[in-house]
Structure formats: C-alpha cells, structure tokens
C-alpha cells in the first residue's frame, strides 16, 4: 500500500508498471510524491477527514451512553438470564449486515409509519415535516445500530468482573449512588469503554456502505472516497495515499487515547 501510494495510475486503472518506466527515467520516474502533493494541496480532503472523525466520535459517544446501562443491567441480572440477554444482543448478526441496513431504509422511508408518526407530532407543534431517510440523521442511526453490540459486549465482560463488595464498602462509607458510580464503577470500567470505543470508532471511520445507502447528498465519508478511488476513478495511488493518511491518523488517535487512559493518572 505504501509503495502503491508513490506510483502512477495506469491508463486502464491499476498501476503503471515500474520496470517499463525505468527505461525512460527522465520522462516518468515511476515513483512519485505527486499523489501526496495532490492530497496536501487541497483542503477539501482534510474536510472529509474531519467530518468522518466527527461522525465516528459522535457514534462512539452515543454508543457508550446507550450501551452502559444495558451492559450493567446484563452484568447485574441473574445468571440464568445473562446468556439469553447476550444471545439477544448478538442475534442481529444472524442476518446479513446489508439486509439490516436496507431494513432501515424501509423504516425511515417517507411513507413509513415512523415518518408519519413523527411528522404528525411535529405538525401538531406547527413544525414543517422532516424527511428521515437520506439524511445525516439516518446515517448516524445506521452507524449506531450496527455498532452498538461491539460496545455492549466488551463493556459487559468488564462490568461482570466488578466485585460488588466494593460498592457495598462505598455505601458503608456513606457514598451516594451517584458517587458510587462515579468513583467506583466508572474508573473500573474504563478498560471496557476503551476497547469498546476502539471497536466502534475505527470501523465507523472507514464505513462506506451506510452513508451510501442511508445518506443524503452531503453525507460522504472517507470510506466512500477511498472506495471511489479504487472502483470508479481507478486511481489506485491516490486511494492508497488516502488509506495511509487514515491509518496514520487512527494510530495517532489510538496512541493519544491509550496515553490518556494509562493507569495511575487518575486520582480516586
């Protein structure tokens, strides 16, 4: 991939072979940094990166907020039900990912019951009707729906291991329920949150199918851009450059997060 990003796009797609070019080295060096210059010469590609990061961050945060209560409910419930509940969380995986996304197309469509319901409530308050499908909102829903289990499962495994005695001890020492959560449960669950966040954040960042299917006219993400470079533009070097920039940025962010989450920085 690194090598590809320094090469020239072929006439029919693919790449210009290096050995042919070496004969005519003056005209075509075979390897070039032109692709990177093209990437950095234009702010528009950064804008897409920023936007994708925003979507991924938002999805991750909402997933944490939604998954936390559910995961702790499962962790605290009786053993008999736990397996059943985990099964229910995993159940959607039994059907194909694309079919589940297409299902959202029907649920959010302008003639769907949900749309009619929301719009009749909105019109009651005198607000103009909204379209749910083909919007950033639809993309976000799709992203959260698909990736929520990836947040629930690591969180559950983490929360399940917590020793309830600690909470009892905190209560005995006079901590309120909020304090018990914030000073006992939350710090202990951080590893689960971080692994869950990584499992959600990184796939969301590269996702192209959901914006393609549920997104409107402005919901392009890096995944779509990279896919386009390989399939419709047939510009492999630029696609590779974009992929490398994406990988680098993910590495930087993961590094930053794990530095922030390193043990001992938090005073309890």
């Amino acid at each position: 991939m690194v090598l590809t990003s320094f090469r020239l796009p072929g006439e029919f797609g693919g790449l210009v072979p290096i050995h042919i070019l070496s004969e005519d080295a003056n005209e075509n060096p075979g390897l070039t940094i032109e692709t990177y210059q093209f990437f950095f010469s234009d702010f528009i590609y950064f804008e897409i990166f920023i936007k994708s990061f925003a979507v991924a961050t938002l999805t991750t945060i909402i997933c944490i907020v939604m998954a936390y209560p559910l995961a702790s409910l499962i962790a605290r419930s009786h053993k008999k039900f736990r397996h059943l509940m985990i099964m229910l969380v995993v159940l959607p995986f039994a059907s194909n990912f694309l079919i589940r996304i297409y299902a959202w197309m029907i649920i959010l469509g302008p003639e769907s019951t949900l749309s009619h319901m929301i719009n009749s409530i909105l019109s009651f308050f005198g607000i103009a009707p909204v379209t749910l499908l083909f919007s950033p909102f639809a993309v976000l829903i799709g992203m959260i729906y698909v990736h929520l289990p990836f947040m629930i499962l690591p969180l559950y495994t983490n929360l399940e291991q917590h020793d309830p005695i600690l909470l009892d001890a905190a209560q005995d020492l006079g901590a309120s329920s909020w304090q018990r959560f914030w000073y006992v449960t939350w710090p202990q669950s951080l590893p689960g949150i971080f692994s869950g966040s990584a499992l959600v954040f990184i796939p969301v960042l590269g996702m192209f199918a959901i914006p393609d299917i549920l997104g409107g006219t402005s919901d392009i993400m890096i995944g779509n851009l990279i896919k386009d470079q390989f399939l419709s533009t047939r510009d492999w070097p630029f696609g590779s450059t974009l992929s490398i920039m994406l990988t680098l940025m993910v590495l930087v962010i993961v590094g930053l997060l794990s530095w922030l989450a390193r043990p001992g920085t938090r005073t309890i």
Binding site: P9, P110, T131, S218, N224, Q229
Partner: protein
C-alpha cells in the same frame, strides 16, 4: 465455556457440511462436461438475456450456456485484470470495450460466420470505440434519462422534456426531497453539461467547473445520489423524479403497474440530449469455443431473440428485424426505437485518461461534500 465449545463444534459440522455440498456440486459439473461436449461461458450483465432465449439456443447448438454476472463495467474490467479467464463472450459498454480492445485481449470477429449482422441498424455500427466493428457486435442499449411519477408531475404542472427539472431551483422547489440523481460522476456531469448546452463528452475543465456549480446549486433539493434504490423508491411512490437508466425505469414502471399503484411511472429523453450506453458482444481471448461464440452472436442477431430481451427489460433495440416480435405497447416507445431526431441527440461516453479522472474525482468530492 461450555456453550462456546458447542458453538465451535456446530461450526465444524457446518464447515464439513458445506465442503461436502461443494464437492458434490463440483462432481456434478464434471459429469455435465463429459456428457455435453461444449459449454459457452458468458460474462454478462445481470438479467440481460431472456430465459426462453437461452433454452432455444441450448437446444439449437447442443451445448450448455453458463453465465457469470457483473453489475458495472469497472467491476468487469477489474475481475478480468485480476485474472478471471475462460469467458468466450463478454457484453461490455462502449468505453469499457474500448479499454478491452486497447488492452489487446479480444479476438477479431469472423464476419463470414455472422450473416445476421445485416439486421443491425447502420447507425449502431462503426462506432468510435470500434471502427469497422472488427471486434464487436451491438447487443442492446440503455439511455440515461429522466424518469417521473406521471400523475404527480402532471398535478404540479412540471415539464418532463428537459434536464431543467433536476437542475433549476424554480422547478425543484416543488419536488424537494423527491428527486434522486445517479451516483456516477460521468453520468451526472454529462447531464449537467448537456443542460448547459455543451457536449456530454466535453473535456474542458472550465465547462466542468460550470457544471459543478450547477450541480451544487441544485443539490440541496435532491434526496440522494442513487444507482439502484431509486427503482424501488419510484415504484412505491416515494420518489417523483429520478435521473436513471431506461431499463431500470422500465422495471420501476412495470412494478408500479403490477402492484396496482394509483400512479404511473414514465420516462423521457430530455430535449437537450442524453447519454446512450450501447452494450456489445465481444470475444475474449481466454474463451475455449470462439466458433460457438460466433454461433451465439449470430443467434442473438435474429430479430425474435433480440426482441425477447426488449420485451423482458425494455432495453433499446438496435435490430431492425426485431420490431414485429416486440410487445405492441413498446413499439411506439422512443427510448427503445428512437426516431432519427431523437437519435441525433444521443451521445456515448468516452473514457478519460488518468489525469482527467483525478480532476473529475476532485470535482466529485467537492460536490459530495458541499
């Protein structure tokens, strides 16, 4: 722990089952090669030949036909470059065929074996992609045009014969959120260029930028960029106007009719012109039976066989002997049999070089982001 072990075992059993099924399937195909001498391998668009046509050909040639499918030209080219072989016959669109010819992977046709070639209307022969039809014979075509919900558009009093309906805010504001355009840089750019009065293949960057401005101005009114889902959305009435392919809109119209919707789907070629994608039959070098492939091409050039495809999917038909076999309601359809005036306004898209592709991709990215 226990449950995961059971799961693993189940997986193992499934795997074994799958491999057993796979094996038996393979044996089947080996048996069939032995009993029948020849198998014609075709790399074709999905649903691009009528089942009864296949049956008749198989009966006439004492052979089997096997098809693999692609859903766009890029996919077909990519699979071939990645080493897919064994195809006697491929059905690419003009510009992709151009690529195949320049790559030198096609076999020139032997016209002696194709007496039915005279059935093709001369307007479809000798195209810029294959002068003299050395390698290709026209199969069928689709036109990129505007489809609309006839009842809605009539009620709103909007025009249906111009690209203005998807580009001009004065029309768009009445159908906001009920319009889709193709998720294809070349097709959408072509539509915008045609509306601005340029050629669909115009390669002037200044004109491209003008087209970009036009698209960005119209974009807030569009629901989405869509290549396939518009068929269903048109058929159930969620969409009122879409920029799409005539074959797909034909399917949407049929679906709406079959499910007895209270509206009709119609489509028309805008007066500024439109893009025509002519698909041709070509012979690939890796094929085993070029003579059988010639026989198939000649068979498909027969009016009846060519007509069956049009009856099935509403494709444009370049065959002059097909008309008597076409369903009566389709004969008058200008998209299937364009008159001379209409035909003169149709353009075929040519390929861009890698620099132009990168510039276009840059424009496309900006369109998608704004």
């Amino acid at each position: 722990m226990n449950s995961s072990l059971i799961l693993m075992r189940l997986n193992l059993v499934l795997l074994i089952l799958i491999s057993v099924i796979g094996c038996t399937h393979q044996e089947d195909s080996i048996v069939s090669t032995q009993t029948s001498t020849r198998i014609l391998q075709i790399f074709n668009w999905n649903n691009y030949i009528a089942p009864e046509t296949i049956q008749r050909f198989e009966a006439s040639c004492d052979c089997y036909m096997k098809q693999d499918y692609f859903s766009d030209n890029e996919e077909m080219l990519a699979k071939l470059s990645a080493g897919a072989t064994g195809y006697d016959l491929i059905v690419p669109t003009g510009n992709a065929m151009d690529t195949l010819i320049r790559q030198g992977v096609l076999i020139p046709l032997d016209k002696e074996l194709l007496p039915n070639l005279k059935n093709i209307h001369p307007a479809y022969l000798n195209t810029q992609f294959d002068p003299g039809n050395q390698f290709s014979v026209p199969y069928a075509y689709t036109i990129t045009l505007l489809g609309f919900n006839a009842n809605k558009i009539r009620d709103l009093g909007l025009p249906t014969d111009t690209w203005a309906i998807i580009f001009e805010p004065q029309y768009l504001q009445k159908i906001k959120g009920r319009v889709t355009v193709l998720d294809s840089p070349r097709e959408l750019l072509a539509a915008a260029l045609l509306y601005l009065g340029y050629a669909a293949n115009d390669q002037d960057e200044a004109h491209w930028n003008q087209a970009k401005e036009l698209i960005i101005r119209a974009k807030p009114f569009w629901a989405a960029f869509s290549n396939t889902s518009y068929i269903r959305e048109m058929a159930i009435g969620d969409l009122w106007v879409s920029h799409g392919y005539s074959n797909d809109l034909f399917q949407a119209a049929m679906d709406a009719q079959k499910t007895k919707r209270p509206f009709a789907i119609d489509y028309a070629i805008p007066k500024q012109g439109a893009v025509m994608s002519l698909d041709s039959m070509v012979l690939h070098k890796s094929g085993k039976y070029p003579d059988l492939a010639h026989q198939f091409i000649n068979f498909m050039l027969d009016g009846k066989n060519s007509a069956e495809l049009t009856n099935l999917i509403g494709s444009g038909n370049p065959n002059v002997t097909a008309k008597p076999f076409i369903r009566s309601e389709l004969v008058q359809n200008k998209v299937i049999f364009p008159d001379e005036d209409t035909f003169s306004r149709l353009e075929m898209i040519t390929d861009l070089n890698s620099t132009q592709r990168r510039i276009l991709s840059r424009i496309w990215t900006e369109i998608k982001l704004r």
